[in-house]
Symmetry: C2
Subunit: 235 residues, 2 copies
């Protein structure tokens, strides 16, 4: 937790907040915080600045804070991600929130097991929890927008073309394709496949929607690593 992320419900006045639960435990157990300590704070959806602990016990912490700077810029990116297996999903959500992806679409693919759509980690609360962890890690305050598309074809045919319009559309896919471009400043729509990759039909449908395949080399990377590697290379 490199940023103590306050939520509107934590505020007791415009510059005071009270914390309980996970963040309070973290202050005790990891930060070993004491009255008077200063720490970096941010307000969810708002600015970032400094906080000072006014009191701290086993029940709650009270702090005063002032917000003096804006959160870091997001990447100009929409990420279309084949739904990863549940354990991987949680880490990937943290990673993409930490790296500054503003918009994520979790989509079906032939190689996504049907059971993955049943995981409790896909509830809005569970998704939000992982995104918050990513924001706290990276020091950001703005939640990415996450949407679910359980059917590949209607999404790719009906909604993706408009979403990708005016952006550079790319599909990360191993094979005999151009190398993934570097250091872009233009907006990008990037599709990343499941473990085992997109099937050829899916690569073709994504290309029809304007997302052309690019590759990162012959090594096959785990989804979480591929996401970090592609984003670091693109921007």
């Amino acid at each position: 937790m490199n940023l103590l992320l306050l939520e509107p419900d934590d505020l007791i006045s415009e510059d005071r907040a009270v914390l309980r639960g996970r963040r309070l435990r973290h202050l005790h157990e990891v930060h070993r915080a004491e009255d008077g300590d200063t720490l970096r704070v941010g307000l969810l959806g708002g600015g970032m600045g400094q906080g000072q602990l006014l009191s701290l016990d086993e029940q709650q912490a009270e702090l005063s804070f002032s917000l003096t700077s804006a959160p870091p810029a997001k990447l100009p990116l929409t990420l279309i991600l084949a739904l990863p297996r549940p354990k991987m999903l949680r880490r990937v959500l943290q990673t993409v929130a930490a790296m500054g992806v503003p918009r994520i679409v979790l989509v079906n693919s032939v190689r996504v097991e049907k059971s993955f759509w049943q995981t409790p980690f896909l509830t809005p609360e569970a998704i939000r929890e992982q995104l918050i962890l990513g924001l706290e890690q990276a020091r950001d305050t703005v939640l990415p927008d996450v949407s679910l598309e359980k059917r590949f074809k209607p999404f790719v045919e009906d909604r993706l073309p408009a979403m990708a319009a005016g952006t550079l559309g790319l599909t990360g896919h191993p094979g005999d394709y151009p190398a993934c471009p570097r250091a872009l400043s233009e907006p990008v729509t990037l599709a990343i496949g499941p473990e085992g990759g997109w099937i050829p039909y899916e690569v073709e449908k994504l290309a029809e929607a304007g997302l052309n395949p690019v590759q990162l080399g012959e090594r096959i990377l785990r989804v979480e690593v591929a996401v970090a590697a592609l984003l670091a290379r693109l921007f």
Copy 2:
């Protein structure tokens, strides 16, 4: 397991092998393999090619194989990594093996907890196990060399300068430093800090050894994500 990685002990002749244990279970449970199936194989430290399952039961699998291609090139990189916490260590070892890092030095830092050096995941067998998983993931056959340096100062003063000689030396560190360079083809020695980062003294000692600080932006990334992002950007 995108590559069935054979070890010399598995061979019963120059083109036949017998498998038991983890890889056999994986063939049954994940690949749902049957007699006659062909699969990608590699020989640890050797070439890659095709294998064919001759027989397969609960006890063992026998296959014939031929090795026709070389493993993918490694990155021209020595990675100096502050020892991560045990759970992260395992994933990072897989990641760096998968991404093609040939040489890794796990080093102490003020922000590495002493207990991390006691983990059973640091035994040669445990390290090797994670590296193998990374090679199987990425389709490579050549184990990286991993060494441990439990004392920062003697390593950085006495051994690192020779190790970094003739390479571009870099320390990944957030702050007011030049941006991490991109798309290098020259050899690099890269140091990546612990959660919480190198302390200023360590950044200074690394610079004296020839590793100058570079940054990836204001977002603080988990070590595993920072490793993937830095490697993808550098090469």
